[in-house]
């Protein structure tokens, strides 16, 4: 049987990679991908905890399903925003979006 900590470490690794993606990518869509990876990593945590804590109570799984839905909702709004910005500025590069600063 695989120890719980392995799953948690895997999840932490994926979360950190997603995080790095948010900070290193210039493309708004790629940043969004990084955020999706972060959410996904959390889901691994949730399901693993569920399995190792008390598999008869389904709350971890329910939470995971809800996270799916939230992620979907966020992506819908996020992509709509990207499209809307693109129409205005003809760019998806977040670094170009620096009218507002200081």
């Amino acid at each position: 049987m695989i120890p719980l900590s392995w799953y948690l470490i895997l999840s932490a690794a994926l979360f950190s990679i997603g995080l790095f993606g948010v900070m290193a990518r210039r493309n708004a869509i790629a940043i969004l991908l990084g955020i999706e990876l972060m959410f996904n990593a959390v889901n691994i945590n949730l399901v693993a905890f569920w399995r190792y804590l008390d598999p008869t109570i389904m709350n971890g799984q329910v939470f995971a399903i809800i996270v799916f839905a939230v992620a979907a909702a966020e992506v819908a709004v996020g992509l709509a925003l990207v499209i809307s910005v693109y129409r205005n500025r003809k760019t998806v590069v977040v670094d170009d979006l620096d009218l507002l600063k200081w």
């Binding site: 948010v22 900070m23 940043i31 977040v94 620096d98 600063k101 200081w102």
Partner: protein, 712 residues
Amino acid sequence: MLFSEATTTSFFSLAPWLVFAPVIGLLINIIIGGRFSEKLIGAVASVASGATFIVSLLLAYSVWVGHGQGESIFLAEWIHVGSLSLDWTFRVDSLSTTMMLVVSGVGTLIHIYAIGYMHEDVRFKNDPSRFRRFFVFLNLFIAAMMILVSGDSYLMLFVGWEGVGLCSFLLIGFWFEMDTLARPSWANSNAAKKAFIVNRIGDLGFLIAGFLMFWYLGSLQFDEVFAAAPELADTQPGIIIAITLFLLVGVAGKSAQIPLFVWLPDAMAGPTPVSALIHAATMVTAGVYLIARSAPLYNLVEGAQSVVVIVGAATALFAATIAVGQYDIKKVLAYSTISQLGFMVAAVGMGAYVAGIFHLVTHAFFKALLFLSAGSVILGLERGHHLLAHAHNGGAADHDDEEEVRRTEPAEVFDPGDMRNMGGIRKTMPVTFWLYMIGSLALVGIIPFAGFWSKDEILLDASLKYPAVYWLLSTAAFFTAFYMGRQIWMVFFGTARHEAAANAQESPKIMTVPLMVLAGLSILGGLLNLPFKGFHNLGHWLEFTLGEVELLGLDPTVAGLSTLLALAAIFISWLLYGRVTLKQADRDPLKKPLGFVFTGMENKWFVDEAYKAMIVDRYTDVCRFLADVIDSRFWHDWFHEKLIVGTYNWFSNTGLNYYADQKIIDAFANGLGRTTKYLSASVRRIQNGFVRSYALSVFLGVVLILGYLILK
């Protein structure tokens, strides 16, 4: 309803009207004053202030009838949290009614005077709305001052304290847009800012004292604080000393004592009635009132009392020497005010509360008189100058092109407040001359004018308790007589040094009549508390609040010596300034014998410069260090080139010009703000507009917090 409740013997329930009356007055002027004539606006404001005076009289009467039994009048709940409960409660006792009477009485006279004075101002500026604004501010001041003196707790006192500070700020800067060559408009608003900032330092002291009180004594209400204080003094005397000294910082700010007195001379930029009311007679004495009110605290710690006395006496002498070297008629009076406030602070510091309050009252009379007369002189000169300007234009100019005239005339810079432009006004403005003489004699302390009795009482107390302070104060009194003599000779005697002075015109009745009332008070004010058995009226009156006070008789040695000193000083001043009329370009005759000492007096002993060098510049250095080393070197390599450009520009423009162009006052008032602003301007470069950098900042916070939790 409030009126019907008042029975024949007790009018205590009227106390809230002290504040309501001026507030109603100012509301009337704000809301419908736009349609009023000038006279009506002034009348409304004066009536409001007069009503306050009448309420004060009734309250004083009630206290007197009740054999000094004061009362606290509850108006409304304010703040109740935990153990702390503070209410809007008015405290009516002999001390507070004395202050009420002085403030509202002198205030009302000055309101009336201001109708005449501001009328001229409006005529010069073509803006009727400023007339209304002025009186609204004045009424607001009366209301705030009433809260200050009638508050039943330190918090309510503080509300009034801040309120009068705000009014002072608004009124000093009243002429913020008046641009003349003699005094550019920024000087007015800078003077206001300077007053505000310096007062903030004092207020911080007051606040800290308040926090300490609440912390250790559990209350801010006067009686509760005083009741709890003796016990604390036994266990932790250091706390009481800290409280009293922090209060002293507040006093130094508001009452212009060393080291925070620098704002008061600049505050003369405001209209003269303001200088008389706020910066001579009433607001600046709030500090003296605060110490007298806190007498039970100060009586507990002798060490703190000595500090107060030393600060007061040192201020009295220091400011008096500066007054000797001033040329502006109002600046002389301003330094004189600081000096006299020093007398009062020294008096209340040594426990001679009656003497201090007595001097506060008489000083309110004669200093208001002096300021208002000085205002009359200045206006007289302006009228004379105005007449000349018209004469030069062929006498045809109408009032319509007032602005035109003002714009064309500055070929010659004329300052109507400069004593070097005056001389011989005795003949052109006789009424003002006699009023001014009365005020001066009262200030100098010639028997039997009011100032003699009150100053003498302070000197007598000092001679008994602090001999060294007695000599300091006597020297200050000598200088007082000297600079007043110098002023009288320069302004009123001899021959005119400027055409304007030769053509000066007497002021209208509405201005001179209130002055006559003040003059009468300056002559007779001594009756309040003559040093003879049976005449200690004020002493007995204040005893109700302050407890047993020592009532002193007249000491012929002290009285004689001080009179002698004053006469000697006046004689010396005549030798220097009165015997021969000075020419306009003449150097001051004191300059030769005194040399650099006089240069020091002339330049206010370089206090402003010293503050700039010690505080403002050091602060600037620290900011610059932060900006330059931390910010520029650290962030720039990572961030934008803009920073280099910005820093470079800042150093080349602001940095160099800073020393080259700016006036010291400017630096003092703006230094704090500007450097903070610069610091802020450089830090904000981090906010570079990139989403990714923002995410990085969030992330950095996360890592730090987790690191803290793990390593803890």
